[in-house]
Symmetry: C2
Subunit: 338 residues, 2 copies
């Protein structure tokens, strides 16, 4: 099976299980919670598109890692649902914290139902994620369910730690590269790492596979974010030819910009005194290329890409199709051709 074929089987199963847990595990007297969760996933509208429920990258990685290690991925489905619910609970709260109006092309939950109800529904979704991970204990065995829950909740602490830093950064003029990497490690890499490791845990695989896949997910997340930061400046430029949406113009604190602020006194001066403007955009852009910021970002992305691929190589593979599909997905996510 190819990644496309796996996705065609897995995505409907994930969607079915998500709808089922919202319907069956939320107590009947509280239809308001169900309605809001269904709204978030785009299931209240008649013409719901795949887009509104998200790409389900994390549950697919979990299920593929499970298959790679010889697991029966259908038994790991509750774990995949748990991870997807954690991801979506964090999106619901992030959207409030960031004052974001739109998510997946639709109005965010808090814009429709207000902040109090949206905070509360995020909390309910967090509980529902735990309930689903508990099902792993019933589906496989208690020790496995326990290990998965331990991993899940340690991850949530790192996730909220990353978000704590991200919110703090908004008020800080200087953010060190070290703290930035800590932040993206929490916000992007931690849940991917938990997804791949819990895929291994639920396959009852070796300690070696578990470690390899944990490292894979972590490196994948960091590589993905480094490329995303690269694309935020040079991708926009190449794809649209416009500079207005570049991270350089919007003032986003991304990897190349933080590198330049830390290492290039002249860049720091201009950026702090004038900010990035249409007039100095070309100049600042070429500074990012000359002072090593562009190369630094590429190096970080390549370094973590290598670590991710090396970790995959260290995995003892039970299902070659699943492994090939995981490689394919990795390729798509970290866009190594850019």
């Amino acid at each position: 099976m190819t990644l496309k074929e796996y996705s065609q089987i897995m995505i409907p199963e994930i969607e079915k299980a998500l709808k089922s847990t919202i319907l069956k595990d939320i107590p009947d007297p509280f239809p308001g919670l169900q309605e809001m969760m269904n709204y978030h996933f785009g299931w209240l509208e008649n013409n719901n598109s795949q887009k509104s429920q998200g790409k389900q990258i994390r549950p697919i990685i979990l299920l593929l890692c499970n298959a790679v290690c010889g697991g029966d991925w259908k038994k790991a489905l509750p774990a995949a649902i748990s991870i997807e619910l954690i991801h979506n609970f964090s999106l619901i709260h992030d959207d409030i914290e960031d004052k974001s109006d739109l998510r997946r092309g639709r109005q965010t939950l808090w814009k429709i139902y207000g902040i109090p109800q949206a905070i509360n529904t995020g909390d309910a979704m967090f509980s529902l994620a735990q309930i689903n991970m508990l099902k792993v204990g019933n589906e496989i065995n208690k020790q496995i369910g326990f290990d998965a829950l331990q991993r899940l909740n340690e991850t949530c602490l790192i996730l909220t730690g990353g978000q704590n830093l991200d919110i703090s950064f908004e008020k800080e003029t200087r953010v060190s590269l070290e703290r930035y990497l800590l932040m993206i490690g929490g916000k992007t890499a931690a849940l991917l790492s938990a997804s791949s490791e819990i895929g291994a845990i639920t396959a009852l695989t070796s300690e070696n596979n578990r470690n390899a896949l944990r490292n894979y997910g972590n490196a994948l997340g960091l590589a993905f974010q480094a490329w995303d930061d690269w694309l935020g400046i040079w991708g926009e430029e190449e794809q649209t030819g416009k500079s207005t949406s570049s991270d350089l113009m919007t003032g986003k604190k991304s990897l190349p910009i933080l590198f330049a602020l830390e290492k290039d006194e002249e860049f720091l001066q201009i950026y702090q005194d004038e900010g990035a403007t249409q007039e100095n955009y070309r100049k600042l852009l070429s500074m990012l290329e000359n002072n090593g910021a562009k190369k630094f970002t590429e190096d970080i992305a390549k370094q973590y890409t290598d670590t991710a691929l090396k970790s995959l190589e260290e995995t003892k593979v039970s299902d070659k199709n699943a492994f090939q599909s995981l490689l394919e997905l990795t390729d798509l996510l970290i866009k190594r051709n850019n």
Copy 2:
């Protein structure tokens, strides 16, 4: 031992364990999360009072129920910490949702750190609660840890369900008694019920004791809230002689008022047309007495008090001192003399 003696031993243990989990279980790179949690409990200030960390009713009930069933309450301490963290996480989020400026005589977390950080710290505290309940699995056994986690998360769904209703009620002119009881069942009774039942679960007691103590906690919560609603009108009157802080004047939708709105057409007319004012206060108050609202509230409170006490009687007691102390605490909470 009396309740006072139990409290004098238990409260410092609870405080020590809470401080320890915040220090040791939050990953080191995220001191911001630790600081905010310590602020919430009043541990950042030098002159911290007992008041700022709350009365710790729920963990004490859990530990007493554990002792009543013959458990070693020190082994159940992580479960008590978990329940206390769930309670406090819900307070942090409730304060944002209700726009409350003060909690336990101090500024609320969101007033100091802003809404985004406060939502996020609540989320981290939720994860920390799960981590502590997982410790029960290591301290006692995996099956017990599993049962306690299942109970905890089902409770959180009911808790958020209750909060969902409570927020909805603000926009509704008419709230049925049935939905009000459902709301307080979720917001007040569910966590007390989980506390007493998890006390039993962690004592490896009989199914009978587990059921009896679950019912006890639930009835205790409902009785407590019914008396609280009674005191919100007649307690203020008797204690302060002033009507201004009465629930009748502030427009709070409490049990006697909802009864009167549902059963007394004339009360409904005045309340809807004029609202409660200094002028009609005496009249509305005497209507609540004549139309049966006062008696209804007393009956509900007495009925649940009886159920709570009857459930305690059904418990097979292993430790008479703990049982007497639990009775004493029950008495304090539901103020049966009023």
